[in-house]
Symmetry: C2
Subunit: 162 residues, 2 copies
DNA sequence: ATATTGACTTCGAGTAACTCGAATACTTAA
DNA sequence: TTAAGTATTCGAGTTACTCGAAGTCAATAT
């Protein structure tokens, strides 16, 4: 536990530069209590330590992966509380893992569709096809058709005016 | 070009059921002109054709992949305009491909970190470790450290009150 | 005949997570 | 002494939903 990790070193500008986040966002995270130990100097300016950077990195990576701020807050509260919260933390992390996997899956699917669109446009531009596939007419460019449940059949519920 | 594709068949409830979107969201997309040909029945109720479902599927998949509504709108406008917009459409699609790939990359990275956290908690729970790795003390759970640019050095800009 | 149910409509407010600009304050360099 | 640069807070704006209220209409149950 190096004391220098807790020595304030960086201004908000430094942190913005280091992390790639905007100063606005960093202040917002601080206001939301997502970086619990940020100190201030004699002029009330925020001063960040390496340790604060660690926290910020953690918060940032949780946010990038889609965890809402409220849950990041909850996670942080548990960290501050102590070892007895480890089972709960482990649970939250497992849930987040599932969500990430689902997202990666969905994105890979969408990437496939995009690649098909791209290939299609390429062949149209090469003059091998004309745009009969245009979404205005009929649109097979965007991948999977929806599954239409059996109980929904043409005009089933469409009340036509008498 | 089957005429039946353009026959109104589904109520908003059907569409919600088919797509998994909420009725609210579907109405919102319609209000935003993201489904250009939706018709109404004698009671002013929305009525969707298979063709409308195709559009909605396209819109939905663009949104899932993170394209802002404004750009989906732009894409739709180009589709409606005709073949001469194909180069621009291809460009938009290529840009979107890049973004998806970047996202998938970031998510995979985050997934790695999450798996590490998970493994760490598991070993703590198994009693092999105590929580000296806790983010309160020092936090190596969250992956990559930020690169700190050379020109930022300890307390470089930290004005200490005189 | 009337009441309930259920589906639709529009409208307007609420939410999350930023995002931005304005007003203000302080220091330092020209 | 003025301008540049950095910081602060505060409050409003944005995006993409998300939700509920209020109203309308038609079929069904009593």
């Amino acid at each position: 536990m190096n004391q220098s990790l807790h020595e304030p070193k960086y201004t908000i500008k430094d942190v913005a530069e280091i992390t790639g986040l905007t100063k606005h966002t960093i202040r917002y995270y601080d206001d939301q209590q997502l970086i619990p130990f940020v100190s201030r100097d004699g002029r009330n300016n925020r001063l960040f330590s390496d340790h604060d950077l660690d926290w910020l990195r953690m918060v940032h990576s949780f946010r990038v992966s889609g965890l809402p701020i409220s849950e990041v807050k909850h996670y942080i509260a548990m960290c501050l509380q102590g070892d007895e919260t480890i089972p709960d933390r482990a649970e939250l992390v497992a849930k987040q893992e599932k969500e990430l996997e689902a997202k990666i899956h969905a994105y890979n699917l969408q990437l496939m569709h995009i690649k098909e669109k791209k290939a299609y446009y390429k062949s149209v531009l090469a003059g091998q096809l004309n745009d009969t596939w245009n979404p205005v007419n009929n649109n097979p460019e965007c991948g999977e058709k929806y599954d239409i449940p059996e109980h929904i059949h043409s005009a089933s519920k469409a009340h036509v005016s008498p």
